[in-house]
């Protein structure tokens, strides 16, 4: 149960940090903000790597590989399109 407590603790603190930081984000940048947070939450990729790469039954690894592909797509397209949009704001 201690593990439940500490995880919940992390969740609550992280949410407060998130609310505090996001509230200050420039209104101009809401669209890139969404693609950036989306890329960041694709950190779920670490879960997919373990499911795909460890010595598991084939069906499990297939599920993992599809999840890994989905997360990786988000990471690549999320960071790249965020940067592309931010470049447009920066050059002014």
């Amino acid at each position: 149960m201690s593990d439940f407590g500490s995880m919940l603790f992390v969740f609550v603190l992280a949410t407060f940090i998130g609310l505090g930081v996001i509230r200050r984000v420039s209104r101009l940048l809401y669209t890139p903000l969404m693609s950036l947070t989306n890329a960041i939450s694709a950190i779920a990729v670490v879960g997919s790597i373990v499911v795909t790469g460890a010595d598991h039954p084939l069906t499990i690894r297939i599920l993992g590989a599809v999840a890994l592909f989905a997360s990786m797509t988000n990471i690549v397209s999320g960071f790249m399109i965020t940067d592309r949009m931010l470049k447009m704001f920066k050059k002014q």
Partner: protein
């Protein structure tokens, strides 16, 4: 090895927080992307080098496939960014749902290392529900935004819809509770698959009654769900990094949802269960006023004689890809010493911040982009308000007409400008299906046609005007 994992998770978390922190100013924002990429790379490598990972070929293959699909997805035209965003929420949800399913069957098969506590099983059920409903819901949203032919654009409603929707979700949650209480029961795997199937169905049902005007809010809410599904996955996998990153994503989605709801004067429940934009009974107005059409020449004259012009862009500008023509007009007017500002309504377009990005693409300085609350006090002194493919966000009926679904929604006070020029694609009402009385006001002149074509004609009147 364990220490490396822990340290890299702390480093990645810190970098992610900095990434979002730097988004508070366009000048520092690009640093945020670098921080995010570094954090992600560290986390991926630290996971990959763990000794239990043996099937490297599989990982390389899936990552390569991710690049093959991801790179073109990052190069879509900026008008298609809302669909891409919805699609990425779908991918996020899919990953969470699939990993959750895999984790459960691993545990059933006896090859999971962690013990299946009631808590972990509840988190697993939540992960699968949130993940799969985000997957199909976001796919539907992306389809609506992309105007895929077999997905209806207009809200689809039927009697008892809310009962059906809530019923489907309630059964999924009830099954989730049952599985959390008895994860090892012989019926549990079937129940688990049932949860997944119901969540997939619920995602579709949730989005079909939602219309285009609500898309900014819905995308934000799906963003929050995608974040929460990552949090649930973090609980299942005992990963503080995942919980933190998911919470950052979730709180971002939450804040954007609140801002979007406020900008439409609606509540979450109202957006999700209110079926905005369904056919409204025609408002009984005593006399049917006529619009007054203006020629391009006349409009150009009006603009030329103005000292201050406020341009109010909406989805129509995005659809017509007119942002570069807007820039040319902006150049032509500012060269004549006319002050030009852009009034940005929070829900203009199809996702939060959509107009800002489109105008930035056309090199319009962001100092000229003004939020609704700041521009409204200036509207009565404005000589010309140029409404460009915006509709509901400038409809004065929102102020007083309780019969319209947009009643109470804060609007840009275009009607208070000395003269209003409205560019409109067709004579049909906007997404919300409401007549806009701004168009029949005494000081309003209409320019019918595609925003890009009309602006092109206007710019020609100024002798080419633009620098591009």
């Amino acid at each position: 090895m364990h220490l490396i994992g822990e340290l890299s998770a702390v480093l990645a978390t810190a970098l992610f927080i900095f990434a979002l922190y730097w988004m508070n100013d366009p000048k520092t924002a690009r640093r945020g992307v670098i921080a995010g990429v570094v954090g992600m790379t560290v986390a991926v490598l630290a996971t990959w080098i763990q000794p239990e990972i043996i099937h490297h070929g599989w990982i390389v293959g899936a990552i390569a496939a991710g690049f093959i699909v991801g790179v073109p997805l990052s190069r879509v035209p900026l008008t298609a960014v809302p669909q891409r965003t919805a699609l990425s929420h779908a991918f996020g949800g899919l990953a969470a749902g699939l990993v959750g399913t895999a984790e459960y069957f691993l545990w059933r098969g006896g090859s999971a290392t962690a013990e299946m506590t009631h808590f972990r099983m509840s988190a697993l059920a939540a992960e699968v529900i949130l993940g799969f409903l985000t997957f199909t819901g976001s796919l539907m949203a992306a389809g609506k935004l992309q105007e895929v032919r077999w997905i209806p654009q207009r809200p689809v409603t039927y009697p008892g819809q809310n009962v059906v929707n809530i019923g489907v979700l309630a059964i999924a949650v009830a099954l989730g509770v049952a599985v959390a209480l008895y994860p090892g029961a012989p019926w549990a795997p079937q129940a688990f698959l049932g949860i997944a199937a119901l969540a997939l169905i619920f995602g579709v049902l949730l989005i079909i009654p939602i219309g285009g005007a609500d898309m900014p809010t819905v995308i934000s809410i799906l963003n929050a769900y995608a974040g929460l599904s990552a949090v649930a996955m973090g609980f299942v996998l005992d990963s503080k990094l995942l919980v933190t990153a998911g919470a950052l994503d979730g709180s971002s989605g939450l804040i954007l949802s609140i801002i979007m709801c406020r900008a439409m004067n609606r509540s979450f429940t109202n957006v999700l269960f209110g079926a905005f934009g369904k056919a409204q009974p025609a408002l009984a107005t005593g006399e049917q006023k006529e619009w007054k059409q203006e020629t391009v020449e006349g409009a150009a004259q009006l603009l030329e004689q103005a000292r201050s012009v406020v341009i109010i862009p909406g989805y129509g500008m995005a659809v017509a890809q007119a942002q570069h023509k807007v820039r040319e007009l902006y150049d032509a007017l500012t060269k004549r010493g006319i002050t030009v500002k852009f009034a940005i309504h929070p829900v203009a377009g199809r996702m939060p911040g959509h107009m800002n990005v489109l105008l930035a693409e056309a090199n319009i300085p962001y100092s000229a982009l003004v939020e609704m609350d700041e521009i409204n006090p200036e509207m009565p002194q404005t000589d010309v308000a140029l409404v460009l493919g915006a509709n509901d966000v400038v409809n004065p009926a929102a102020r007083y007409n309780k019969g319209t679904p947009i009643y109470g929604m804060p609007i840009i006070d275009a009607d208070k400008a000395k003269t209003v020029l409205a560019v409109k694609r067709s004579k049909n009402p906007g997404f919300a299906g409401i007549d806009n009385e701004l168009y029949v006001q005494d000081n309003t002149w209409m320019l019918f046609g595609d925003a890009k074509a009309v602006l092109g004609e206007l710019v020609k009147q100024f002798g080419g005007g633009g620098i591009h």
